[in-house]
């Protein structure tokens, strides 16, 4: 902090009664920079771990879960089917039963489109309309065809595909 003392009064007394000379002013400057530097160092030494501590859950890798949802014979092409399932997962320090579901669309020959149940607009649950043969979202009128392509409404992207595996005629999907 700079003092407002006039330059000329080099060794006179200021109103605090302390002798103030130009030499003392530079000492004051030295100390205030020193204090500022130490304060900055303490602040940085605290800020770095505290920031890491606060954002750490966001940096975590998502757990992977694979869930068996039935035999491939259960699913017929042209007839999307919603499959509900649940799995155990970590939620912070707890283990919870996560309920979830996927839409399974058989493409024939052991190939599938498995869709995440969340609309790509703002995450509402959509459903299959069997008369119109389209996926309809009730929230803001999003419409998708059987391959997940957007036909109408605000959704910006096609339906999100979920990874799956077929082994010995059994269908397994990645749970989220």
């Amino acid at each position: 902090m700079e003092t407002k003392l006039p330059k000329g009064r080099e060794t006179s007394q200021d109103h605090n009664g302390a002798g103030v000379s130009t030499e003392k002013l530079s000492r004051r400057k030295f100390l205030s920079y020193g204090i500022g530097g130490i304060a900055t160092a303490i602040f940085a030494a605290l800020a770095y771990p505290l920031a890491g501590y606060a954002v750490s859950p966001a940096l975590r890798k998502q757990e992977e879960h694979w869930i068996a949802i039935g035999s491939i014979k259960d699913f017929k092409p042209g007839n999307p089917k919603k499959v509900d399932f649940s799995f155990r997962k970590h939620d912070g320090w707890t283990l919870v039963n996560q309920k979830s579901n996927v839409w399974v669309v058989a493409k024939g020959e052991g190939e599938f489109n498995i869709f995440s149940p969340k609309c790509t607009h703002l995450g509402c649950a959509y459903h299959w309309d069997d008369n119109q043969k389209k996926f309809m979202c009730p929230c803001h009128g999003g419409v998708f065809d059987i391959t997940g392509k957007v036909l109408a409404g605000p959704p910006p992207r096609p339906l999100e595909k979920v990874s799956y595996r077929v082994q010995d005629g059994k269908l397994t999907v990645k749970g989220v």
Binding site: N16, L46, P49, L50, Y53, L59, G92, W93, T94
Partner: protein
């Protein structure tokens, strides 16, 4: 950079006179390193407030979750062991520093007229620090926490006549359980900090008004 921001604000709000009045004041020549301990205590208190707020980001004061959320902080959150460790060790260090500060004030006779009330404010601050320690000790909800609090509350319960009533008030019932944990938590993170700030402000205003005492 900081100075330029300060200048910018100063040109608009004329901060300089007020800041100089607060920051620039004479320190008597007899002041030496022994006078640091109050300031160190205050620094540690600020550190406790900061690390405490960060611990609250993950801590849950319920018997189902307290132990697991604390171990989650220590083992699963980045720097969690560090933040918890700082809060843990500073809790002990602050008591040491308060006592050293108190001894210095006592040794120099700084509690005498006209500073009696600041000594009294100091005693309250000391008791508040003890309160932080006692209530904070229960929060991890492990064996040590549980039995230490069991013993501590039983001491209060051993007072004649009103003892058993006091015991129930402190525990929120006959047994040490969920109700005890939440009330200790609330006292630790809300009640004591609020009261402490009031006493700190009083302590500092009195020091500023009366100046630092001449030793002996």
């Amino acid at each position: 950079m900081v100075l330029r921001i300060y200048d910018w604000l100063d040109r608009r709000f004329d901060l300089r006179p007020a800041m100089e009045k607060i920051l620039i004041h004479p320190v008597p020549s007899w002041v030496n390193w022994l006078y640091c301990f109050g300031g160190i205590t205050f620094f540690l208190f600020v550190l406790q407030v900061i690390t405490g707020i960060f611990l609250m980001l993950y801590y849950v004061p319920s018997p189902d979750h307290a132990y697991a959320s604390v171990s989650f902080i220590s083992h699963d959150i980045q720097f969690g062991y560090l933040v918890r460790g700082m809060h843990h060790w500073t809790a002990s260090l602050i008591v040491v520093m308060v006592v050293v500060h108190m001894l210095r004030v006592f040794w120099h006779g700084a509690y005498k007229n006209p500073r009696e009330l600041n000594w009294v404010a100091g005693v309250f601050l000391f008791l508040l620090m003890m309160g932080f320690g006692f209530t904070g000790y229960l929060l991890p909800w492990d064996q040590k926490a549980y039995w230490a609090t069991s013993v501590g509350t039983n001491i209060a319960g051993s007072a004649p006549i009103i003892g058993s009533f006091i015991l129930k008030v402190i525990r929120g019932g006959t047994d040490l359980g969920a109700v005890t944990l939440v009330r200790f938590f609330t006292i630790h993170v809300m009640v004591l900090p609020a009261i402490t700030v009031v006493f700190l402000v009083a302590h500092f205003l009195m020091i500023r008004r009366q100046g630092i005492s001449r030793p002996f």
